[in-house]
Amino acid sequence: MSKMTKIDIITRPEKFEALKQALNEIGVTGMTVYQVLGCGIQKGKTEFYRGAPLEINLLPKIKLETVVCEVPVSEVIRVAKEVLYTGEIGDGKIFVYDVENVIKIRTGEEGVRAL
């Protein structure tokens, strides 16, 4: 079983459509998307709500999670960087994890073939 890797891309919601398309083009078809709230260097600010301080320090982000095997991880990262880069704070981050196994419920296939 060749190595399978999970790539988590956390970025601005409005970049999602472009990212998805770019990933499709390099052969990534399966993905799962989360709506999350994040903070990193890009901090929120203190706002006022009815005059009381309200720290909005979590910004809505999306996390796109894709487990790949045949498509090289580096390729996914390259494409993501290309599409998501603006140079502004808030471009986001990519996290890479190891995956032990994948099972496709419909066919029962495991590992690479399940992707």
Partner: protein, 402 residues
């Protein structure tokens, strides 16, 4: 066909408009609180209407408009038994219908201020008692032939009788039940923002709509020009107060605050209620502007200085602006107001009247809330507050998507 029929019809229609205000209050309160307590707010609003109407029918109306005893309380018409054919120049049924739909409003105001942390049954008890002893009794004094009315105190559509009284009860309730968990951290107020601004906005607009029944309807006389005059002053005051709150919040906090802008509209509407038929357009614009600004200051003061947690701003909107608006009648009344050459007589009466009503409302509601606190308890337990009243008390979430 006579004016009698026409006015009865007008009062009926106005009452129906007022009825929709209950939807407005519900949406404002839901929108300005957290989603985990939305069902509870809804339930509170429904019981408020239901109990308000039922008890007012049984007892409240009699206390308020029954035969006066000593300027203090009405004494007949319980369950509308032996009702007269007409009242206030309209069919008795019209009159009662209008009043009955009003009755619960005063209590609804309290429900917003004590939201998200008050026991459901504690609230229900307060609601029952308030519709028996607070609203109708003070109402009797002001409108039912009681001593304040005889004294010359003037409150056109309920700036004090409904709003200020509701707001002062809210103050007492919110104080006694204490702030929501997490509202004050290290003794500093933090925001707990409402979860649905669009619903709150809808609520405000529905309230505004209903206000055109509330104020113009209060003349009980469509043939009188003051009915239409009241409609216009209501429109103007609400509008200018919206702008005032928006601009002032922008100046003060750097951003046009949505919550305060919505509250601003209500502040203007409450502010004009006591004098809608008595002040002129300029008066309406001034009153609206002042109420819009004062409300913003009051929200901050109550929140950060008094450290009383009022999730929807009811104390400032209804209590403060209701009281202010009533006093302003003494300044802006075109017939008797100080600024219109009427001297300080009316102004004095207005101040005294508001003070008496505020004091009494606060005293009675203190007694009620305090007794509840010491017996069955006012406050939900910690766990319920964390997890939301909806899930624990009502066994359901407002929004379910899985």
């Amino acid at each position: 066909m006579s004016d009698y029929i026409l006015n009865s019809m007008w009062v009926l229609i106005a009452s129906v408009l007022v009825f929709l205000m209950h939807a407005g209050f519900s949406m404002v309160e839901v929108g300005f609180t957290q989603s985990k307590n939305a069902v509870n707010i809804i339930m509170k609003n429904f019981v408020t209407v239901a109990i308000g109407v039922t008890i007012y029918f049984a007892i409240g109306f009699a206390f308020m408009y029954g035969k006066d005893a000593g300027g203090i309380i009405g004494t007949n018409l319980f369950f509308l038994v032996n009702k007269p054919e007409s009242m206030g120049g309209v069919m008795f049924e019209s009159y009662f219908f209008f009043q009955a739909i009003f009755a619960a409003t005063c209590v609804t105001i309290v429900s917003g201020a004590v939201a998200e942390r008050t026991k459901f049954n504690a609230y229900v008890i307060f609601c029952v008692l308030a519709v028996i002893v607070i609203y109708p009794v003070i109402g009797h004094w002001i409108w039912g032939g009681g001593f304040l009315q005889k004294f010359g105190f003037t409150d056109f559509a309920g700036g004090t009788a409904v709003h200020a009284v509701g707001g002062f009860c809210a103050l007492v309730g919110a104080k006694l039940v204490g702030p929501r968990k997490g509202k004050y951290r290290n003794n500093k107020a933090t925001a707990i923002p409402g979860h649905n601004i669009p619903l709150a906005a809808l609520g405000v607009l529905i309230l505004w709509f209903g206000w055109f029944g509330f104020n113009p309807g209060s003349t009980l006389d469509i043939t009188s020009p003051s009915t239409l005059h009241a409609a216009i002053t209501t429109l103007l005051s609400g509008s200018i107060a919206t702008i005032a709150a928006l601009v002032f919040s922008k100046i003060k906090y750097g951003k046009p605050d949505a919550g305060l802008t919505l509250n601003g509209a209500l502040a203007g509407l409450v502010g004009i209620t006591a004098g809608a038929s008595m002040v002129d357009y300029t008066g309406a614009l001034i009153i609206g502007t002042i109420c819009g600004v004062m409300m913003v200051l009051s929200v901050e003061f109550i929140d950060q200085k008094l450290k009383i947690d009022d999730p929807v701003g009811a104390i400032s909107v209804h209590g403060l602006c209701g009281a202010l608006g009533t006093i302003f009648v003494g300044l802006f009344s075109v017939t008797e107001g100080l600024f219109y050459g009427g001297g300080i007589s009316l102004l004095g009466k207005q101040i005294v009247g508001v003070a008496i009503c505020a004091a009494v409302a606060m005293t009675i509601s203190f007694v009620i809330f305090y007794t509840i606190k010491k017996t069955i308890g006012l406050r939900i337990d910690k766990e319920m507050e964390d997890d939301g009243i909806d899930k624990i008390e009502h066994g359901i979430s407002a929004y379910i998507s899985l």
